[in-house]
């Protein structure tokens, strides 16, 4: 088994572009663009707390069922893709597009039947896109 010890991978032609050969051994995909750039799982009930996260410097409780995670390393633009979910069967997670920014991933948890925001003990979010 081969092993490379390295702290940083950088493309030779373009620093921010490294191709990875796909599972079918023919096509390639961008390593940098394909990596998830941030994720978190937080407890949104009462005083919010984080179970675990990546690339998140801090969290903000914006109100009932409304949470923000501030990135340690910002995204290149506010158009990044994101997804959110909760651990409840009747409460969905949603990305707050009106407050989407390069530095924050803001999500809401809401009751499926009427859209009312509700706090939940398990709130999940991920962000995919380009880092600044």
């Amino acid at each position: 088994m081969s092993e490379i010890l390295v702290n940083k991978l950088t493309g030779t032609s373009t620093a921010g572009s490294i191709l990875v050969t796909g599972e079918g051994n023919s096509t390639t995909t961008s390593l940098q663009q394909g990596l998830i750039k941030a994720w978190y799982k937080l407890n949104g009930s009462g005083t919010i707390s984080v179970y675990d996260s990546f690339n998140i410097a801090s969290f903000t409780d914006n109100g009932t069922g409304d949470y923000s995670g501030t990135f340690t390393n910002a995204m290149a633009n506010a158009n990044f893709s994101a997804s959110a979910a909760t651990g409840s069967s009747d409460v969905f997670g949603s990305v707050d597009g009106g407050n989407q920014a390069t530095t924050v991933l803001r999500v809401t948890s809401y009751y499926y039947a009427n859209g009312a925001k509700l706090d939940r003990a398990q709130v999940y979010a991920i962000a995919a896109g380009d880092l600044a």
Binding site: M1, S2, E3, I4, L5, V6, N7, L9, T12, S13, V20, T21, G22, E23, G24, S26, T27, T29, S30, L31, Q33, G34, L35, I36, N77, N79, F80, S81, A82, S83, A84, A85, F92, G93, S94, V95, D96, G97, G98, N99, Q100, T108, Y110, Y112, A113, N114, G115, I126, A128, G129, D130
Partner: protein
Amino acid sequence: MALGKIKADTLEHSTAGSLGTEFFVNGSSKHWISVTYNSGTPTNRDSLNVSSIADTAAGECTVTLSTAFNAATDYCWVSGTLNTSASQEQITCYTKAASNYKTYNYNSGGAGGIDPEGFYVVSMGDLA
């Protein structure tokens, strides 16, 4: 200068641990997209591995991939909706093929076929 190529099974960071390169290949998302709607027309704001998007019908959007997955049924598809108002929406994967998929949007009242403000999709799986 020819492009460099490294073949390895493991990458190890000095402090953050090591990771098998299969996680780079299998664990990277192969597709993501951020879409907004304006007067019923979807716009691709930013994306990875997208050839085109099409407004198929009200509340439906077909996304065609540049590089297909190896099978229609195997790849993971997760989504999010872009909501700026009190009306919360939920997007689902209506149909799915190796090289494209169609989304279908519901509003918070459970009514389907409603154009969303926008949506996000991230997909993981094996490329063809």
